[in-house]
Symmetry: C2
């Protein structure tokens, strides 16, 4: 019966979506217990729709403060000790919860999670990993922005951790790993990716070598490894392009009477396409490599999406991802004699 | 009457598309003269459809070799002196042509163009710049992959050069410039983008500061500045996502009789959407900062797209982009006392 600590006060939508999201997640997993961290006066009324059975698996952990969405990471560590985000992470540190979920400020969450939980032994940096739609279903990319730079060794660790999470959390038997580069030939790219290529090739992962940006979606690999700068820019670029395409479709379908009629016919089909690409369908980014499960929900997540992030944290907790990472990185380092 | 040297032997489709593309470009600009570089025996028959007037503005410059698409840049410099790509660039160097166009191997073209033409004084690196569809029309992004890394000073130069090309080649009166980063707050990002932010803010461009990946498409800026690694990954990611969306739409519209009927109605509208996003509509990437105009066409460009790349080179030649860049970078360096 995993217990998770849920920061229900953060994100763009806050408690009115996060609390119902938590109830949805409880309804979908009968073994789950949730600690809702935040202002009890805000949370309590939002629990009214819950059945007694569901309510019995909820406890409220009071927190008087919230980390603002624009707070600097360092300031968040120093000044937000009473925040719902910090207390949710503290509950993991204290062993009261196996993991936590927050839709809050990514920079603050990354900084506080690192500061409070620390990384697993041998793990230098904890990357953020998330699903992206791909031809064969999903690809899982890391680092999406927790760390702005990454050394070759850190990229090797991302490959190992990504492989573990893809297997245990996302259920891919033997995840194929690719390293993002500007070309797929072995000679391409800067020193860091060149060195990482050699390191990963010598690691216990199913490594397919360099891939290019379009391979994120082609189905060629299951795990895409890159540094947090490139990963974040690529992720945001895709979000921007998806919005542009949606906007253009709306404009064109509204242009004339004929196109408005076409829209009536096309709508159900386009909705199905949209649904397969909807980020809410795969909400939840894992912060991998920390001594506890930390899942970041999209800031604009509604209750359905927030419930998915909680379900992800539950799976990660059940599979003891921090333990698996410690084992893999530890044995791997031992093999290399470091 | 600008003369351009056109490598008609390279690219995935080669002479059968490049030569007709050259004829299209000639038909669209009566002041243009083209030197078609390649195998005369291949080119001559493809010129048969041309009118005598058009044919009079074409000359053939023989080249016995072609740079293979997978040739390493250094090998291309050393061993492909008789290639259509090299000879086209040599024509620019010799002053016989104001610019050249090739659909060939990007790495080889970048390397040979740098080696033969050299950069304009004060320009450290010559980036590749291209249009991307955006909410307001297009955004112009550089570097898309000519250089794998970029220092802060090089990013500043990209901002200046990008601003000139956006104005003179793409007709944007006062181009708004943004620097790609993982957040739009001033404190975000690694040392290089931090330093570049300060340098560009002090330059003679209309600088809006940091932008995130989704702003490439939002219409917030006209010129997106980034290093070649990030730029290339972002560009390829978008191409991959666009292909994924197109594929999903095809699948969903073919799923049932009802959706096939919907497809009949929706097709003209979706075609219009597709047309506004079709990379062939904005084919042609400028290699900016070299002592001559060099335009890279997409490797899979058909004749229509190849003609666009030639038109772009013509505009850049008419506006003397190399001269404008030399003036801007030179005076800018002088102001700074360097």
């Amino acid at each position: 019966m995993p217990t998770l600590a849920i920061d229900v006060m953060s994100g763009d939508l806050g408690a009115p979506e996060c609390v119902p999201g938590a109830l949805l997640a409880l309804g979908q997993a009968s073994d789950l217990h949730l600690e809702l961290v935040g202002n009890p006066a805000t949370i309590e009324p939002l629990l009214a729709p819950a059945s007694a059975a569901l309510r019995a698996r909820v406890s409220i952990v009071p927190a008087s403060d919230v980390v603002p969405m624009d707070e600097l990471p360092r300031a968040a560590i120093r000044h937000r000790k009473a925040s719902s985000m910090r207390i949710a992470i503290d509950r993991v540190k204290a062993g009261a919860a196996l993991g936590c979920v927050s839709a809050g400020n990514t920079g603050a969450l990354t900084a506080i999670a690192h500061f409070v939980l620390k990384t697993v032994p041998h793990v230098e940096r904890a990357p953020i990993m998330s699903a992206l739609p791909a031809a064969h279903g999903f690809a899982y990319m890391l680092d999406l922005g927790a760390n702005i730079t990454a050394t070759a060794e850190q990229l090797r660790q991302f490959a190992l951790m990504g492989s573990i999470v893809a297997r245990d959390v996302f259920g891919i038997a033997e995840p194929r790993v690719g390293l993002l580069n500007v070309g797929s030939e072995d000679i391409k790219g800067h020193q860091t990716v060149q060195a990482a290529n050699a390191l990963i090739a010598g690691s216990a992962v199913r490594y397919l070598g360099f891939i290019e940006g379009d391979d994120i979606f082609s189905g060629k690999v299951d795990v895409v490894v890159t540094d947090g700068f490139t990963g974040n820019v690529a992720l945001k670029s895709m979000e921007g392009l998806a919005r542009l395409i949606t906007g253009r479709m709306r404009t064109e379908f509204m242009r004339s009477t004929a196109s408005r009629i076409a829209a009536l016919f096309a709508r159900p089909v386009l909705k199905r396409v949209g649904a397969t690409l909807d980020p809410r369908q795969y909400n939840g980014a894992c912060m991998v490599g920390l001594r506890g499960v930390v899942v970041k929900s999209h800031g604009r997540a509604d209750r359905t999406a927030f419930a998915l992030a909680i379900a992800l944290a539950r799976t990660a907790a059940i599979h003891d991802i921090p333990g698996c990472v410690a084992k893999a990185l530890g044995s791997n380092s031992a093999e290399q004699g470091t």
